[in-house]
Structures are given as C-alpha cells and as structure tokens.
C-alpha cells in the first residue's frame, strides 16, 4: 500500500492542515501545527478514464498507465480499457520487469490488483479540449 502520513491529534485544528504531496515516492502528508501527532494511512492511488466518441465508436484512455480501450459504446470502451489495464498490471506484477523513468510510476498501481476492479477508477469523464 502507498503510505500516507497525516499529522493530527486531539489539539490539532481541522482547518490549518497543509498538504504536501511527493508523487515520485507516492507519499502524501498533511502537516498541522508542530504539536500534532502523525498518522500513517496507506493509500493506493486510483486511475482516471477518459471516454470520447470516435468515427465508429468510443475510445477509452487511462493517462496514468497509457492504456487504451475501444467499443461500440462508451461502456464497451471502458470495459475493454479495464481489461487492458488489468492485463498490463498483471504482467508487471508477475514478471516484475525493470521500468524506465518514463513509466516508473506505473509500479504504484500494481497494488490495484488486490482490490476490486470496480474501484480502480476514481474518475471517468471526457478529456479536456486541450488534452493531446
């Protein structure tokens, strides 16, 4: 699990937390005034899916893992994306290949194999017009 540390405690006010995120190490911290306690809560990062229409159907993409799916409708495209993502993560988990810096962050998502696939994607939407 990706560890998360949250600083808090009985005297810690709830509105003065400062979020510090270090994606490279998959650590997330919330720090409160110095006298608070620190809590470490494991968090597995979730994925995002973008679904958009194409000439004859729909394409689903996952920017975090660069996975792809296609279907006659949006649901079909998303389900194929899910399958492609699952197979790629299974390959990473089974064979544990070395990852280049370009895709080193993919390793953090292997933990998703331990949770239900229905929870893998935190957000599904259409890509913004600026997205390439």
């Amino acid at each position: 699990m990706t560890p998360v540390a949250i600083a808090g405690g009985p005297a810690a006010p709830s509105s003065t937390g400062e979020l510090i995120s270090t994606y490279g190490q998959n650590m997330r911290y919330v720090s409160y005034p110095p006298h608070g306690s620190v809590y470490r809560i494991p968090v597995t990062p979730r994925l995002t899916a973008y679904v958009e229409p194409t000439d004859d159907g729909f394409v689903a993409t996952c920017p975090q893992l660069e996975s792809l799916g296609y279907g006659a409708d949006a649901v079909g495209a998303f389900l194929q994306l899910l399958e492609a993502t699952q197979e790629y993560l299974t390959y990473l988990s089974d064979q544990q290949p070395l990852l280049s810096p370009r895709v080193a962050h993919h390793k953090a998502y292997v933990r998703l194999l331990e949770v239900p696939v229905t929870s893998w994607f935190a957000a599904i939407g259409r890509p913004s017009p600026d997205a390439s």
């Binding site: 194409t54 390959y91 064979q95 290949p97 895709v103």
Partner: protein
C-alpha cells in the same frame, strides 16, 4: 482498406515490441537499451480489421509512431517477404 490487427502486430514487432503476456488480449512491451519497459500496447487476438480511424491513431500514439511510419514498415516488410 483499414489496417488489421495482424498488420499492427507486425509493425510493433518490427519496432522492437515483444509479446509478454497473452490472455484475453496480448500485452506487448517495448524495452529500452537497458532492458527496461518503455511503452506497452494491447493487441486483440486474430487479424480483424481496425475499422475506427480514431482508435487506430490512438494505438499509433501509444507506440509513439505515425501512420506514415506504419505503412512504410509494412511496405518494407512486404517487399522483403
């Protein structure tokens, strides 16, 4: 005539991708000079046509290749066969 999954498989293979897993789909991976994973792509089994141009272009983007390169590689391969 739209490209086929067989042709896409041929082109990615000639671009250094290797088949690493075959289940519901095929998972192909491109390694860098140090043997580390650089990119991956998923290929459907068989040789059905890839009719949707938008999807085909997304596949090419996944491999960081252009449509021009795709057909050049196919043409070279057909000449040498």
């Amino acid at each position: 005539m739209p490209p086929s999954w067989g042709e896409y498989r041929k082109v990615v293979s000639r671009n250094g991708f290797e088949l690493k897993r075959s289940a519901k789909h095929e998972t192909w991976v491109q390694l860098d000079d140090e043997g580390r994973v650089l990119r991956h792509t998923t290929i459907s089994h068989g040789n059905a046509p890839i009719r949707d141009r938008g999807f085909f272009h997304r596949l090419l983007k996944q491999c960081d290749k252009t449509e021009e390169h795709f057909y050049e590689v196919l043409k070279k391969g057909n000449r040498s066969n």
